[in-house]
């Protein structure tokens, strides 16, 4: 392009020697620009050489600021140093050239209304004539190069000078643009690499693939590189499986970081706290306390028992999970609590409400709205009904294949995802449950605990509730017709049983509840003392050796002394321990 212009210049009657020299100068500078490691220095040298070549008193290069409002002198040569000088982008001859994207020769500045004398006034330099050419590439304005006061010849710039300067300006502009694009590319590459690292860490937070017959499975497909969705599942030490699926408000890096935090909290605490409602209460308090303003997490967390098919879950403001029974009937589990992070003390000490389900060979699907609102066709969402259709069609088939199919349907056609797609499934179909377990789910203790239930209470497991419990037991025992002495014994036994719950099952005060049920049979009174702690190893509970005077263990001995029957029943289906005490009437 430069060559063509120069040819034009040659046709305008420039001596062959000059063309030769012009060409050499331009070729050299073009090489300089192409190989430059330090563009500023190269530009500065270019200004110096062109000033020298054209034989002008001074030369300056002005760059247009990113906002387009200012022109800044980035390089200059001549008797006055003006590097760093800033002028309005439409000021003076240089401003004119940049705005009009045209070169200009001003032979006598005193006769040109565009000339801005302020710089001369300030520097003491006297400008007589100006040659100015804009730097622009395909209409994108970059700046201009200006030469001042031609020395040789008639002291006036001519068309030949302008053509040369214009050619140089074009290559300088290209060099600047290339350098900027290269810098942008480097920055983009850096950001991309960081995002990929973040995505890698995020993927490591998702659960590892388990053996194919593991009953819980999940898929996640981020809409961007990183995701605000997450799912997790891990076996608990009692054989049950904890599962979580959540969706952080927003997308991108802030959502991804929030996701990492919430997922980590849940995974760590979830192994110790096996009651979903209580776990979410704790995590909610933490998230609400430390979350960035306005961010929240909708989430479902639950515990699944492959032995029984029993699921206990809490839903914090999340899309209702879908439960499909063995027979194909659907039930959606609506959220009964707000999302995590809205308020630290939104709920009382009972924690987030829990829902209990018996899968009984059915399947439970937990998913984010990226699934139901995902496009399966141009502008057509999958919807809950669409998901139900897919689940119905896959009945009896491989659940992982179904998850893959959903992912493929929403994210497979090369369409940009609207939102992260995350889906988790619990497949109870492959699990065999013994009949007695089902019976216990239907009505705990229905077969082996007859008698009329006359009273029950549930209190927080704290020492200061024991007096309350004793009074209730005393009244109930008297009501059932026990003598004063027997009543005292029953009170002692229940009190000791509750102490064991506080001190040994929970290990701390106020960690959970104690529930006591009083049943009355014609021949006996039955007391069921239940906690919601981790199952206690019954083999380790022994009455103390009476020759040993050390404190502790005495309570269990006392219970055995005063009650006719003491036994731990099989752990309740949703965890905890159940102790049965029987006292015969009229012994």
């Amino acid at each position: 392009m430069n060559g063509i212009e120069l040819t034009g210049g040659a046709q305008m009657g420039v001596a062959p020697e000059a063309v030769h020299s012009h060409l050499e100068l331009l070729a050299e500078m073009g090489r300089d620009f192409a190989t430059s490691q330090d563009l500023e220095q190269t530009l500065s040298r270019a200004v110096e050489r062109i000033t020298d070549y054209v034989d002008a008193e001074a030369g300056a290069l002005f760059m247009l600021s990113p906002s387009g409002e200012l022109l800044r002198c980035d390089a200059c040569i001549g008797p006055v140093e003006i590097t760093g000088l800033e002028i309005a982008a439409d000021q003076g001859i240089v401003g004119f050239c940049v705005q009009k994207d045209a070169g200009r020769i001003v032979r006598d500045v005193s006769k040109d209304p565009d000339f801005n004398a302020a710089v001369d006034d300030e520097t003491g330099f006297r400008t007589r004539s100006i040659l100015c050419a804009p730097m622009s590439v395909k209409g994108e304005r970059i700046g201009a190069i200006e030469l001042i006061n031609k020395r040789g010849g008639d002291g006036l710039f001519d068309d030949d000078d302008l053509h040369l300067l214009q050619s140089l300006s074009v290559s300088a502009g290209l060099a600047v643009l290339n350098a900027r694009m290269a810098a942008e590319l480097v920055e983009q590459e850096r950001v991309k690499r960081e995002l990929e690292l973040a995505a890698e860490i995020q993927r490591s937070l998702l659960p590892e693939e388990k053996e194919t017959d593991f009953p819980v499975k999940g898929v996640n497909l981020p809409a961007r590189v990183v995701s605000g969705d997450f799912y997790d599942f891990y076996p608990l030490d009692d054989g049950r499986v904890a599962f979580t699926l959540g969706d952080v408000s927003g997308k991108g890096m802030n959502a991804a970081l929030m996701m990492a935090k919430t997922a980590s909290l849940l995974r760590c605490l979830g192994k110790a706290i096996k009651e979903p409602g209580r776990l979410l209460t704790l995590v909610n308090a933490e998230v609400a306390e430390t979350a960035t303003r306005g961010m929240f997490v909708t989430l479902v967390h639950g515990v699944y028992d492959p032995e029984s098919g029993h699921v206990r879950l809490a839903n914090a403001g999340h899309e209702p999970p879908l439960f499909v029974t063995r027979d194909g009937a659907f039930q959606s589990i609506e959220a009964e609590a707000p999302p995590l992070g809205i308020s630290p003390a939104l709920l009382d000490e009972d924690g987030f409400p829990e829902t209990e389900l018996h899968l009984d060979g059915g399947r439970l699907f937990v998913f984010t709205d990226g699934v139901t609102e995902g496009y399966v066709d141009e502008g057509i969402e999958l919807g809950v009904d669409g998901l139900k259709d897919m689940i119905r069609r896959a009945a009896g088939g491989d659940v992982q294949a179904l998850l893959n199919e959903v992912r493929q349907k929403i994210g497979g056609a090369g369409r940009a995802l609207r939102d992260d797609v995350t889906l988790l499934a619990i497949d109870d179909a492959g699990q065999s449950h013994s009949a007695d377990v089902s019976a216990r789910v239907a009505e705990p203790g229905a077969t082996d605990m007859p008698g009329e239930k006359i009273f029950q209470l549930r209190v927080t497991a704290k020492a200061n509730r024991l007096r309350l419990i004793r009074n209730a037991v005393r009244e109930t025992a008297e009501f059932c017709g026990f003598s004063e002495a027997d009543t005292g014994d029953i009170v002692l036994a229940v009190d000791e049983a509750c102490q064991n719950v506080i001190r040994h099952a929970y290990g701390h005060e106020g960690e959970g509840d104690i529930a006591i049920e009083f049943r009355h049979r014609p021949d006996a009174m039955i007391l069921l003392v239940r906690d919601f702690a981790d199952p206690v190893d019954i083999s380790k509970i022994k009455p103390r050796d009476l020759d040993d005077l050390r404190p502790g263990g005495l309570g269990t001995h006392l219970i055995g002394e005063v009650m006719d029957e003491v036994d731990f029943l099989p752990p309740p289906i949703d965890g905890g321990n159940l102790l049965r005490l029987v006292k015969k009437i009229g012994d």
Binding site: A463, R467, R470, G488, V491, I502, L554, G555, L558, E561
Partner: protein, 110 residues
């Protein structure tokens, strides 16, 4: 639960009243152990104790062991029926010196 301290015939009398259970036994234990090492014999009056549980009994046992080590003597006096029942169930009625009244207690420990 509350306790009161007094002296009788050279012995310290600590009289408890109310329930000694998981909640109050730490306080009872502290009061009892506070008397250890003072040289005087100790009488623990349980007449006002309607209920004592295993943690309360454990506090008494711990105090008894400490008292023996420091060369003091300890007796339980005026033990209520409820408290006596628990001591019997724990087979501790033979481990503790149990007296009917403070006066008998003073005679047995001095």
């Amino acid at each position: 639960m509350e306790h009161q301290l007094s002296e009788s015939g050279g012995a310290i009398v600590i009289a408890f009243s109310g329930d000694i259970d998981l909640q109050t036994s730490p306080e009872a234990r502290k009061a009892l152990l506070g008397l250890v090492g003072k040289g005087q014999p100790i009488l623990v009056d349980l007449s006002g104790v309607g209920y004592i549980d295993s943690s309360g009994v454990a506090s008494l046992v711990e105090c008894l062991q400490s008292v023996k080590k420091s060369g003091q003597k300890l007796a339980l006096v005026s033990v209520s029926d409820g408290a006596l029942r628990v001591l019997q169930l724990a087979r501790l009625d033979k481990v503790f010196v149990i007296c009917g009244t403070v006066e008998e207690g003073v005679q047995s420990v001095t």
